[in-house]
């Protein structure tokens, strides 16, 4: 495909893209293993039609590794472990490493216990939730994963961003069918989707973003100029998305001991929660052990 003035979509061999991404991540300081895994994660998102978390994320991640926001050689350590709950410190890492370990731990424990297991990772940039929910679903378990994110969302009627796009994913195993895996932000659009639209010079559907005065807008630049993202359910029922985002902030930020609400900085202090539950035709009842952290931490944080 010859280049022309319209700057067309390029077709590249998948293996070639993976090799280029892995090479870039290695040069940013990641181990060969971690560079390959992060490259595969971006390629997987791109293949599934989520370009916001695909190849374009290389630019943002290179910036984060370059300025020290992300740590290319994180030392992931176990902070606490019980029979059914695990807390890891991710040491500002990014990609599949710690969350894959966390979900695999959940899968093993959920099977042993014939019940459920939950793991939190603090200070780790998750990027996407679906791969971890899929790990559980492909193992025949119900999977759930979520993460908080830097504050970009105000409560309905508000103008101060206090919560992130706070996405979650579930994975449900099926028999004849593929596992059902949903991965959604609790905003109408993820920040990366807004960035992709801005890069392409495209407008968004009206009301996906708010400008800095809090007015609904279709202009991606209005968001980057101090604007906000609209919660899922906007414009008629923004409290629904905002309410779910708050729950996810509590599960991933408060419970893990990472940053929560406005304390989540770009790429840092992000917490996440992975959960695997065994199912035998009966819906699993969710009950998170160690949830005392929810009542303790807000007081400590004062």
């Amino acid at each position: 495909m010859a280049s022309d003035h319209s700057d067309p979509t390029r077709l590249a061999p998948i293996g070639d893209v993976r090799r280029c991404l892995a090479g870039a991540f290695e040069r940013l300081g990641l181990t060969v293993h971690d560079a390959d895994a992060l490259a595969e994660l971006l390629v997987d998102s791109e293949l599934r039609g989520h370009p916001g978390h695909g190849v374009a994320a290389l630019g943002i991640l290179a910036g984060f590794y370059g300025d020290g926001t992300l740590n290319p050689r994180p030392r992931v350590r176990v902070v606490g472990e019980t029979e059914g709950a695990l807390l890891l410190d991710g040491d500002r890492g990014c990609g599949p490493g710690a969350p894959t370990d966390a979900m695999q731990w959940c899968v093993e424990r959920a099977r042993e216990r014939k019940g459920m297991a939950v793991a939190c990772v603090r200070d780790w940039q998750l990027l996407v939730c679906a791969p971890y929910a899929r790990i559980a679903a492909e193992a025949g378990l119900i999977g759930f994963a979520c993460t908080n994110f830097v504050a970009l969302v105000a409560p309905p009627g508000g103008r101060t961003a206090v919560l992130g796009t706070n996405p979650f994913a579930y994975g449900l195993p099926a028999g004849r069918h593929q596992p059902v895996v949903l991965d959604v932000a609790t905003t109408l659009s993820s920040m990366q989707q807004v960035r992709v639209a801005a890069d392409a010079g495209q407008q968004l559907p009206d009301g996906v973003v708010f400008d800095r005065a809090g007015r609904p807008s279709s202009d991606p630049e209005a968001f980057f100029a101090g604007g906000l993202l609209a919660p899922l359910g906007s414009p008629h029922a923004p409290h629904k998305g905002f309410g779910v985002a708050l729950f996810i902030d509590a599960l991933s930020g408060v419970l893990s001991g990472a940053g929560f609400a406005k304390d989540v900085a770009g790429g840092r202090h992000v917490g996440e929660l992975s959960l695997g539950a065994r199912c035998r035709g009966v819906p699993a009842t969710a009950g998170v052990r160690g949830a005392n952290g929810l009542t303790d931490r807000p007081d400590q944080a004062g």
Partner: protein
Amino acid sequence: MDSQIDQIKQGERIAGVDELLVPGERGQRRHSDLTARGVLPLAPAAWRTLTTTCKSLGAPLPVAVDEGASG
């Protein structure tokens, strides 16, 4: 789960809709199709990010293939 999915997919459709999908199905299908073809369509901005970042880091550069219109 299979029965639930079957009920979803067998529901009546509005005019112009060929198939009803469950969450993740569209992405899984795109993933399978592109993997079989071995190629990844990249938007102009993603292509620019990949080439400029790899160049500045001294990493391998991607090479676009000519396969007619992208999928």
